[in-house]
């Protein structure tokens, strides 16, 4: 059985073909990524393919994600790969989806209803789905949702203290994101620790180059997370502000004359690390900055980033009533030891004790343990594999059909 998986980034499109062997475990046969999709800049867009070690890079203008998907589908056709089903990552499933769904007329209708919930991410994913329907109409498709993992969050954590009628009308609640990543990380951390998920109180930090979030996971189920109705609140992110006073929005519109679209852009694209530092949205640039005039604000940006992260870890330890494992994942979580070091400083009160040497030695290749020996809380880096989670859902949904 071959499963094609699409994962849309804001300016990239990752896709993988998983070959499911007789033992039921999926292995990657084709891996491709379209870079700088729809980006106008100095360097042009290109696609990389890796078909069982056979690598190829093609530079060409790619205006949209749909176009990038077409290129991948053509490549698959050219190389005579058969595809049994296609899986897609969808960021925001709203209240419609608590688990992955096979693409049917009803599913499509609901997906369209979800578009305004994540205006940057959802329409792009839907365009890729449309392209697949046009090009491979006979192949079954399914959708997995980043918000689904958090459907177990209890009312005390997902409710906003807004008037009942308003909440009902707009379905305002905390949804949460990065669910595919958390699904993988929970399973992988438990496997590594040789314990069942239902034995673990875990705080997982998904720190990406774009968006970041934290999740409180009790016995394998999400009980709270830092993002909300949209992916805007929570941590200080690369260009997103994270938590702010809600009245700030009202104030800036009323007193400073901002239009809502300007403010949405300001909070989502010009805030966070970029807004504070003034020169970069990348925490790695900010950590390594030594240039005069930049350094002071770079230090401030790093302090704000780690301060907010520590607050979330602390609040989720309290929410869980203790902690067994603290897990870092995604590019920054796994790749930037300085962030982990700052996050774990003076956290002995909840049993977190980081071995600074192990912390600096951690690699992005495998799960690494970073806590000092004998410490109560395990500290791990777990490189995440969102596409694998999508593929595993494909086996569940289409496995029997293909067999």
């Amino acid at each position: 059985m071959n499963i094609l998986v699409f994962n849309c980034g804001s300016s990239s499109l990752s896709s993988k073909v998983f070959e499911v062997g007789a033992d039921g475990s999926p292995r990657v046969s084709l891996s491709s990524k379209a870079h700088r999709v729809g980006v106008t800049g100095t360097e042009g867009s290109f696609v990389e393919y890796d078909l069982r070690g056979d690598r190829q890079k093609v530079s060409l203008p790619i205006e949209t994600h749909r176009e990038a998907a077409r290129l991948v589908l053509e490549y698959i056709g050219d190389h005579k790969l058969t595809i049994d089903c296609i899986g897609h990552r969808f960021v925001h499933g709203g209240h419609y989806f608590k688990e992955s769904a096979v693409l049917e007329v009803d599913t499509l209708r609901k997906l369209r209803a979800c578009l305004p919930l994540a205006p940057i991410h959802n329409p792009v994913s839907l365009s890729v789905i449309d392209e697949c329907r046009d090009r491979m109409p006979r192949v079954g498709q399914y959708v997995t949702f980043d918000s689904a993992f958090h459907s177990t969050i209890p009312p005390r954590a997902y409710r906003y203290a807004l008037p009942k009628a308003i909440t009902k009308k707009f379905n305002f609640r905390k949804y949460g994101f990065h669910g595919l990543s958390y699904t993988y990380v929970v399973a992988e951390a438990s496997r590594f620790l040789e314990r069942e998920p239902r034995q673990l109180k875990m705080v997982a930090c998904h720190l990406g180059t774009g968006g970041s979030s934290v999740a409180a996971i009790r016995y394998g189920r999400s009980v709270d997370t830092s993002m909300g109705f949209s992916p805007l609140p929570g941590l200080v992110m690369s260009t997103r502000c994270g938590d702010i006073d809600p009245m700030l929005t009202v104030y800036l519109m009323a007193a400073h004359g901002y239009r809502p679209d300007e403010l949405i852009e300001l909070f989502n694209k010009r805030s966070g690390l970029l807004g504070v530092s003034g020169f970069s949205s990348d925490i790695r640039d900010i950590i390594s900055s030594t240039r005069q005039g930049e350094k002071e604000r770079a230090e401030l940006a790093l302090k704000m980033y780690t301060h907010r992260l520590r607050k979330y870890v602390g609040s989720y330890v309290a929410a869980l009533g203790g902690l067994d494992a603290l897990v870092f994942t995604d590019d920054i979580g796994v790749g930037t030891w300085q962030v982990r070091q700052k996050a774990c400083e003076h956290m002995e009160w909840c049993g977190v004790a980081l071995d600074s040497k192990l912390n600096q030695q951690a690699t992005g290749e495998r799960v690494c343990r970073l806590n000092v020996e004998g410490s109560r809380v395990a500290i791990l880096t777990v490189p995440t594999k969102e596409e694998l989670v999508i593929a595993l859902d494909g086996i569940k949904l289409f496995g029997e059909v293909a067999a």
């Binding site: 009942k164 109705f229 805007l232 502000c241 401030l300 602390g314 609040s315 309290a318 009533g321």
Partner: protein, 354 residues
């Protein structure tokens, strides 16, 4: 006699302290109000000191307690833009107070000054730097209360207490993290709406929600009213509800669910502040009605067992300072009975004595 004023737009609440006895009421913050006050108190000749509470002092007022003279009015007027309705009332009261009572000493009490020295990572938002520079920052609040709580915690728990989480339980519930007498975190943001849901305020919400509301044609005034006056416990229940109503929830399932939202929010912020402090020596709950908040305090206390809080099963409920933890508990937890007028009076006296 000492006179104290606190804004309650469009009125000003007053309290007269005569030989330790308090009486009070509410008047208009102008000449008519002072005339009414004079009638109530059989003349204002005996007023020796007057205290005015300013909720939001911004960068202009960075001292918690300071002597106020006519020169200070311009500065006060400059703070009105920060919290228009409340600060306007305080400014007016101070102006007429200085005019009407030239022989008395006038003292300004500022509720944000305690937070003026908060580190930038706690005080700033991750918005473009220029906006922060223009004054968009977290102000903190209820500084008089939290500073008093710090001193009380040291009195009750000794000098070993260096890291404190102070929780003010009220219709404006908020927290402060205090290290060695200075505030390093607050739940109150640019406005008091940020943080924990209150009787009518929404607390922390996703800012995207505001854009959604606005896109359906709701006006800014309406959104403002929605978030500040129609949300919180009142919004969740769809009927007027204070914290005290909520605490009397016993058999009301809906109310107990809302109480759970509130309790959970307080618990999470305590956890966040312990992380900011890098551990904690004491947690204090400050409440005007200790008896009514007793169960709530104990429930939160029990939820903190993992952090070294060993709760008493049935703590002594006598006096103004209840110890909720066992003598050998790593972290002490106290419940403190709060009387804001008396704390204000103490502060005024402290300054005048100096």
């Amino acid at each position: 006699m000492m006179l104290l004023f606190e804004p309650d737009p469009p009125f000003v609440r007053w309290c007269a302290v005569v030989d330790g006895a308090l009486c009070g009421g509410s008047v208009e913050p102008g000449p008519d109000g002072f005339a009414e006050l004079g009638d109530r108190l059989d003349g204002l000749e005996n007023v020796e000191t007057v205290g005015y509470l300013l909720h939001q002092g911004g960068a202009e007022v960075d001292r918690a307690v300071s002597l106020l003279t006519a020169d200070g009015i311009a500065q006060l007027e400059h703070t009105v833009r920060l919290l228009p309705e409340h600060n306007d009332v305080t400014t007016k009261a101070a102006k007429y107070g200085l005019e009407r009572l030239p022989g008395a000493r006038h003292v300004l009490l500022c509720d944000t000054a305690f937070f003026a020295s908060m580190p930038p990572e706690a005080g700033m938002y991750a918005v473009p730097y220029e906006l922060s520079k223009a004054g968009l920052r977290r102000s903190g609040g209820f500084g008089l209360c939290h500073e008093w709580a710090w001193r009380q915690a040291r009195l009750a728990g000794g000098d070993a207490i260096g890291k404190l989480v102070s929780v003010y339980l009220s219709d404006r519930t908020n927290l402060a993290a205090v290290q060695d007498g200075g505030a390093i975190e607050t739940t109150i943001g640019f406005t008091p709406v940020e943080g924990i849901p209150s009787s009518t305020g929404c607390g922390d919400i996703d800012p995207t929600i505001i854009f959604q509301l606005h896109s359906t044609g709701m006006l800014l005034d309406q959104i403002n009213r929605l978030l500040t006056q129609r949300s919180g416990f009142t919004g969740l229940l769809d009927r007027k509800c204070s914290l005290w109503d909520l605490l009397r929830a016993e058999d009301d399932y809906e109310k107990s669910e809302v109480l759970e939202v509130y309790r959970y929010s307080v618990l999470k912020h305590i956890g966040a502040f312990i992380a900011v402090l890098g551990g904690v020596d004491a947690v204090v709950f400050v409440s005007e009605h200790l008896e009514e908040t007793a169960d709530l305090m104990l429930q939160i206390c029990r939820a903190l067992a993992f952090a070294g809080v060993e709760c008493e099963d049935s703590p002594d409920r006598d006096g103004h300072c209840w110890r909720l933890t066992r003598p050998n508990s790593c972290v002490c937890v106290f419940g403190l009975r709060y009387d804001k007028w008396r704390v204000m009076a103490q502060e005024v006296i402290r300054l005048v004595d100096e």
